[in-house]
Amino acid sequence: MSNTNPLLDVSGLTKHFPIKGGFPIRRTVGAVQAVDGLDFQVAEGESLGLVGESGCGKSTTGRLITRLLEPTGGKITYRGQDITHADRKGLAPIRSEIQMIFQDPYASLNPRQTVGKIISGPMEINGINPEGGREKRVRELLEIVGLNPEHYNRFPHEFSGGQRQRIGVARALALEPKLIVADEPVSALDVSIQAQVVNLLQKVQRELGIAFVFIAHDLAVVRHFSQRVAVMYLGKIVEIADRDDLYDNPRHPYTRALLSAVPEATVDAEPRERIRLVGDVPSPINPPSGCRFRTRCWKATEKCATEAPPLVQAEGNKPGHLTACHYPETADTVPAPRLSKDPEAAA
Amino acid sequence: SSGGGGGNGTPSAGATSYTGAKVTIGTKADSTGPAPEIPGAKKGGTIYGLAPDDFSHLDPQRIYYAYNSTIALLLHRCLTGYKIDSSGHQKLVGDLATDTGTASKDNKTWTFTLKEGLKWEDGSELTVEDVRHGIERLWAPFVTESATYAQLALTGKGAKWRDAYEGPYKGKHLDAIVTDKAKRTITFHLAEPKPDFNFTLAMHSYAATPVKLDTKEKYDKAPVSAGPYKIKAHSIDKSMVLTRNKNWDPATDSIRNAYPDGFEFLFGVETLDSTDRLIADQGNDQYAVSIYKGVPAERIQKVLTDPQLKKRTFNGLLTGTYFYWINTKRVTDLKVRQALIHAWPLQQIRQIYGGPSAGDLASSILSPDIIGYEKSDVYGKLTKPAGDPEKAKALLKEAGKEGVKVVYAFPQDPTYLKTKVVIENALKAAGFTPVMKPVDSTSYYDQIQQINNSYDVMWGGWSPDWPTAYTMIEPLFDGAAIGNGQNNVSQTDISWINDAIKKTAVIADQTEAGKAWAALDKKIMTEVAPIIPETFTRRFYVYGSKVGGAQFDPNFSATLLYKTFVKA
């Protein structure tokens, strides 16, 4: 574990989006608790995967780290420097070091700019003048991400989704960052293309030593890409561990349920135990008290409703494997019951 | 009445034999009712009147504009009035009074006797007190729009006439008016001689108002009628319905016929629109007349070239003169003023107004319907109506003012924006440097009536309030009439003119006086040249095919409503 001197240190990170309302004068009447007290670190060159259901706050976390959003609370430290509330000027020196790759290959490229402009833009903004000129560098980058350097003058709409995502990667690489936040970079791509991009990112991470916060909802992809994985549920991290630990020995019921729900394209392998969660993620405006997962958890007790479980190294966990559960699963737990589909019970 | 507010002077016309009305003073017999029958006329029916605007005032004391007088003729009665014959000649006769009044030798005391059988619309008697009350009301603070001739004459205090009397509502009467209820006489003691005071009293500002039925400010909306009709309904700015006043006795009225059972006026109909309606002649429009507005230039050709249509028209010259004031305080050189007159393109201007049928070219101050009018053409404008640039140039050269800048002000109105074009061309041709200055037409007169304005030549016009020259020459050229909001816009303050006005104004015999005025007119034009006379404007009116007796009111330049009737 490289916790000693992490590249990125996030503690107690919180983001509440205010809800306006009231009468007759508008004011803040509530908040979407999108992210609520996250603690994690990312070491240099390491890839941290962030998984969870839709709306659990993955993107918000990513946007907080890149400071596209102003945190409501907590602290973000990058290489020892507190950037929690740094403004544009304060961020300028580290702007080039933290970059982002976006989910939507269509929306993330300005349709009115050529590829060359899109990639050289960040260099221009940060006053980077590589040897041999920016155009040369852009062509290099295009090559690195597996695109034809001659496509320099083309427009995004002339590329396929996978190619566009490569352009996005090239743009992020243009500033030679130390940390890239990739927000579901492959979710919008076809399976056949998805693999291309995952490979590219992996290559980039390994060869250039760039650390990643890799956001995804596809557990298989995350497993493939990230050395460490954090599972989020409703604005909180419920479990964080090294890859193998997490996939082989999930301690949190939610992690387990999540893993069991992934369909696998194999017919001969014996069917995995199946846990079927009922209902949807509750609203982050009024999250359940105590453990936020308790409304969908088959193990929930009184305690879960009153006491929020801390994210700790549960008994039997390897070091660095933290779980936020009062009743963590054990390896030999009997397979969870296939939950009744009685909807009333879940409501 | 005067040159109308703003830019509504668009005239139009066509060559006819009509050359202005003759005005005479009638006898007691002329003053005795009823009015002579009109051949073919029958009682009954309704005449419809179309107009762009509602009457702005109905309270007689607040009536001065000619347009308001067109209805005042049906409702209000003054001591005197004009009896108009079918050819348009007018006679001053007694209306409420038995005759045109008796003046003292010095013309400072005027006495009138009321006819018998005069009644208000509610049947109460119309007395000399009511006549006096009408005049005393002029001092009421809410009456601000009236003519001021009588007030001036009665108090002799000039512009401060209001200070002389506090108005009738505080219980006091004006000392200068003496009434005798028993004898039905009313006597005016004037501060200065006024030989034409009986003309003055024909103005509707001096009509009688019932003491008992006076509602002060509210009277303006609901006046009490002494005339042949009374107001039945009035929807302001939209319509007005008049019905017969049963208490009006034709025997007391030598002026008014009253054939229709009622009138219905429709307001808000723009002139072009109303003309088209009258031309189309459908439905009730067959019984309709245009109250005040003549056929606009755009329809003159249509109206005059269609023989069927032309049969349904009458026309007349407006009472006043259109001219251009020359600011003598700015254009101080007589030669330059004369050059301006020579240069002015009268013919082209009239072309824009609609050609010869739009009116006659003017060459003098006085208009043809003024008593004593004599044609004079000092600058040969009638022979060279298109302008004489050579002569103008020569005069300018003489004066050493070649290329002098001339600021010409005119109301911003489609017609004058057009005449501006030809005027500018003519001035350039004559060697002036013209500056053309359109002025917002709603405040046009306000602006040019500022004595320190910066205009050299200004479009304008003036109509006399009664057909004697005094009401033209005095307001326009008397030095006393210089001031903000006053009409001596040329700012002529020349002692011989002032003296001549004073002298001529007291000549008792109006024919004599007329001659003197005409001579003064010519002299002013020759020696001072303070205005450029332009046209005596002619107006054409179309009326519905079922309307009879439609004729021009030479006094108020409108349709003479009380002579109309519904054809069988």
Partner: protein, 341 residues
């Protein structure tokens, strides 16, 4: 063999656009029996949705030309009149669309939209239809259906919307259900719920299901038979087991290889299919997959780029590839080895 329940014969669906003719589906055939689930997989744009919309006759006739045969219980649908189709749609055959939010009318309550279909096809009264709607909602697992029946779609969560869509599609007990990527936008946990639901319903009513997806994992979960589409054509078909464990087409193999799994090795790179999907305006000649195919040069005479490979189907199994069976056995096993260590 009697006539199959649904049978497509050489279906062609071409769109005329201002850029030219888009051959979205170009000669597709398959059969489907009652009570069976056919999974259709393929990349985005491979013509999956177009095929199924063609079955329901939902294409705009103004810019679409359809060719071939669609036989439902022997009845030809391409030439059927609009009113005949109206009677079938929502009744005998119905469809679940991918984007439930966009596919449900935002202006009508969920209940009304379900009831409407029922009334149209059964002539039931308003009250009956409403009761039916509530029952359907209950059946698809909507909590408090008698209350939620009056909600609008935007008041539902993503999973609930998709369930409402399903309820609507099933309200008249259709014999054919087409599910067009019903779970793609959903979380895995919700996806699992929906698929369980579909399976249960099929068991209950013996519905024939066409399940469209581009996720082979989902196919493995739900389908009996699989049809792999590429560039508007079928490249391979067979039972789920056949296709997933012994693919016969390089594209299918590529798809399988490019998928990361929950238990495979993690330190080796994935094996993607190079290149990008074909343009349907100017599709590659011959085999449409050949520009991306790793084995194209193994076939002599450049046949891959010149000759369209035939889809030889025997007992529901077949693929469209010029490689010989031997070549496949040899070449594919290498690849399979890299996959499962």
């Amino acid at each position: 063999m009697s006539t199959p329940f649904l049978s497509l014969r050489d279906l062609k669906v071409h769109f005329s656009t201002e850029d030219g003719i888009v051959k979205a589906v170009d000669g597709l055939s398959f059969d489907l029996e009652k009570g069976k689930t056919l999974g259709i997989v393929g990349e985005s744009g491979s013509g999956k949705s177009v095929t199924n919309m063609a079955i329901l006759g939902l294409h705009d006739p103004r810019n679409t030309t359809m060719d071939g045969e669609i036989l439902l219980e022997g009845k030809e649908l391409i030439s059927a009149s609009e009113s005949e189709l109206e009677k079938l749609r929502g009744n005998k055959m119905s469809m679940i669309f991918q984007d439930a939010l966009a596919s449900l009318s935002p202006y009508h309550t969920i209940g009304a939209q379900i009831a409407e279909t029922y009334r149209k096809h059964t002539g039931a009264s308003k009250k009956e239809a409403r009761a039916r709607a509530i029952e359907m909602l209950r059946r698809v697992g909507i909590p408090q259906p008698d209350v939620r029946v009056d909600d609008y779609p935007h008041q539902f969560s993503g999973g609930m919307r998709q369930r409402a869509m399903i309820a609507m599609a099933l309200v008249c007990d259709p014999e054919l259900l087409i599910a067009d990527e019903p779970t793609t936008a959903l979380d895995v946990t919700v996806q699992a719920q929906i698929m369980d639901l579909l399976k249960d319903l099929q068991q209950e009513f013996g519905t024939a299901i066409i399940f469209i997806t581009h996720d082979l994992g989902v196919i493995a979960d739900i389908a009996d038979d699989v049809l792999v589409m590429y560039g508007g054509r079928c490249v391979e078909r067979g039972t789920k087991k056949q296709v997933l464990s012994a693919p016969e087409h390089p594209y299918t193999l590529g798809l399988l290889n490019s998928m990361p799994s929950l238990d495979g090795p993690v330190d080796v790179p994935l094996s993607p299919i190079p290149g990008s999907p074909p343009s349907l305006l100017n599709p590659p000649s011959g085999c449409r997959f050949h520009p991306r195919c790793a084995f194209a040069e193994k076939v002599t005479d450049g046949r891959c780029s010149s000759e369209r490979p035939k889809l030889e189907v025997a007992e529901g199994r077949g693929s469209a590839c010029h490689l010989t069976v031997e070549q496949k056995r040899e070449l594919f096993s290498d690849y399979a080895a890299t996959r499962h260590n």
